[in-house]
């Protein structure tokens, strides 16, 4: 007996992602999904962001890691409500995990929700979480050929942040080459360069965020 199915494998995740999207829209909440390889500096970037913006914006953070609550604790130390999702062995966050974590927040009271995805340049790109925007972080020690090696991640992001600019003198990293590759595979992608450690360029990131929030309201 042959049964016709014709259902997308990611249909279930898509449905939950749209549910999340509707919840966020109802609360007027701007949600960012930050992705990168492990160690690119997502959490440090978020620590600096919380330090600078938490005074004028109601921010909350969802942290995704296989194990530990290290990252959520770092964010909480900055006075921002952070919830940790531990995937156990899963290499990416999905819409169901995020939906579960949303119960910990009063969404109506928030302006900005940042979801820090599991450090991974492959899988997170395929799983819609219901976010308003996807941001990719690439650090200078990782190499400038990453956009063509891991294209899906770069195609599906609206903003690319090049981090660890303070290390540029010590690594082989050509910013113009990365910009060229990224724009080739995603012509609409915006690119900014920062050092979350020294603060260089961070105003550009804050400006991007506040600009998006203003457009929403």
């Amino acid at each position: 007996m042959e049964i016709d199915v014709q259902k997308g494998l990611l249909a279930a995740n898509e449905r939950l992602a749209q549910e999340n999207r509707s919840l966020f829209a109802r609360s007027g909440l701007f949600v960012v999904n930050i992705m990168s390889g492990p160690g690119a500096g997502k959490t440090t970037l978020l620590e600096r962001t919380c330090e600078t913006l938490a005074a004028r914006l109601n921010i909350a953070v969802i942290e995704g890691d296989l194990q530990t609550s290290e990252d959520a604790e770092r964010i909480a130390a900055k006075g921002v409500h952070a919830v940790q999702i531990n995937t156990g062995g899963g290499c990416h966050l999905d819409a169901k995990m995020v939906q579960g974590a949303l119960k910990s927040f009063d969404l109506d009271a928030l302006d900005l929700l940042i979801i820090e995805n599991v450090g991974n340049l492959v899988c997170p790109a395929a799983f819609d979480l219901g976010e308003s925007a996807r941001v990719m972080l690439l650090s200078t020690p990782e190499g400038d050929e990453k956009p063509i090696k891991y294209p899906l991640m770069f195609t599906r992001s609206q903003l690319l942040i090049i981090n660890k600019m303070d290390l540029l003198d010590y690594v082989d990293f050509d910013v113009k080459r990365v910009e060229g590759y990224a724009k080739k595979i995603n012509p609409g992608i915006e690119i900014i360069t920062v050092s979350a450690k020294t603060g260089e360029g961070m105003e550009g990131w804050y400006g991007w965020l506040t600009g998006k929030l203003e457009k929403k309201s």
Binding site: D4, L9, V122
Partner: protein
């Protein structure tokens, strides 16, 4: 992805009253991010102790295709080629996005 697939297969089998799945047909697009060989390998590993333990996975690979309106050439847009490889024209029609990832059918008894 293999686990998502198996869960869908089991769900459909239960709905149709199938106790033992003998084959699973999927369509995997070239730009979907899924590698057919990897899916096949993972499926073989994950299907033990499920209704699909003796099922064969048949993968229909769908290429990502574009058509150049300027010189009428059909070409592959994977991975991220959106200008014509023959005349370098920019007036391209996307015939197949290559994003597809679909469970088409299951067979069993």
């Amino acid at each position: 992805m293999a686990i998502i697939l198996l869960e869908m297969v089991e769900g459909e089998a239960e709905k149709a009253g199938i106790a033992r799945v003998t084959s699973v047909k999927v369509r995997v697009g070239a730009s979907s991010g899924v590698v057919p060989d990897a899916l096949g390998f993972a499926f073989e590993a994950a299907k033990d102790d499920t209704m699909a333990s003796s099922a064969k996975l048949l993968i229909d690979e769908i290429p990502a295709r574009g058509f150049c309106r300027e010189c009428s050439k059909d070409f592959s847009t994977f991975p991220f080629r959106y200008t014509c490889p023959v005349c370098f024209g920019l007036d391209i029609e996307i015939r197949e996005t290559g994003d597809e990832l679909t469970l088409m059918s299951i067979e069993g008894e």
